[in-house]
Amino acid sequence: MSTTELHVHNPVEDLLRQDRIPTIWCPGCGIGTTVNSFAHALLGQDIDLKKTAIVSGIGCSGRVSGYMNLDSFHTTHGRAIPFATGLKLANPELNVIVYSGDGDLTSIGGNHLLHAARRNMDLMVVCVNNMIYAMTGGQAAATTPGAANSTTTPYGAFEPELNIPQIVDAAGACFVARWTAFHVMQLERTMAKALKKKGFRFIEILSPCPTYFQRKNNMGDGLAAMVDYKKRSKIKNGCPTWETVLEPGGEIIVGEFVDREREDYLTRMRRQLGSNYTEFPPQMEEHESEGCSKEC
């Protein structure tokens, strides 16, 4: 068994920090699969990669930022969105993508998710939903289906799971979609579309966690989860988000649910400020000092 000695080059490699591969992800984990769709979506656009930053919180999914050959920020648990908000506000030229887990974005970071959507902050948020707190060893998340087993809900959870698209839609996101790690091509297209849009864009991706979610619930390995996604998914573009609840064992509604135009935060700010906003070019003397000798 040897690597084919040919001058073939996987373009995804250019977007990875080669010196950090292999990843820490388990065999059959879906997070890496979603990265392929993301990388292809980024490469297929005329997006300036030098002006593209990726921000993550903490978790297995939160490791994505550190594998991408972009400006990478691995922040604190739940707080990727407010960090990204600061980044975007202070340099509006940046394309800022948040890539993190379901627990990170919707539980501990749930409040930030709501308000960034409400503000229509110009961010693209990718939420890898493995329905569990994976990095910490399989505890219940707000997304864990009720009957499912987790280390902290040994008798099942006594609370219903979150329908993330509905929350984000209600809060005002201008783009909301859901796919699974199985839908690699659809996901790439949706990501490409979202990358081009302005405002708060949200993409949920169901992704297998064989180590903690599948195994603990006798659902087989990563591959079994992928095959299951393929079987259970139903594409319903434009589906009202109150209908996208994930029933255990039921249909998985996927597609692009929301795509609307809304003025984003910075555009609205500039418009409302009018003459109260003053452009702030660098101080004159900084220009003068260019070409100046060191002594002056």
Partner: protein, 81 residues
């Protein structure tokens, strides 16, 4: 010559089988051999059916496989490879 082929970085493979399962033309199979980490990387069993579509690459969570189209050498009108 088949339309496409795959490049496999065997040492990166974690043997998940995604590529095998989702190759539309069933080109791949997990080999019985182990890589250094103890996983079974894929190999081609139906190489002639490979279209180079790179779906296997899109699915591979460990960036271990890449499908590419073979260069069509000097295509002469009317010939098929």
């Amino acid at each position: 010559m088949p339309k496409g082929s795959v490049a496999i970085t065997t040492e990166r493979c974690k043997g998940c089988g995604f590529c095998v399962e989702f190759c539309p033309t069933h080109v791949l199979e997990l080999s019985s051999a182990f890589n250094a980490k103890g996983y079974h990387p894929p190999h081609m069993i139906n190489a002639e059916k490979c279209s180079g579509c790179n779906l296997c690459g899109m699915y591979c969570p460990d960036f271990a496989i890449f499908g590419y189209r073979n260069p069509v050498d000097k295509p002469q009108k009317g010939t098929h490879s």
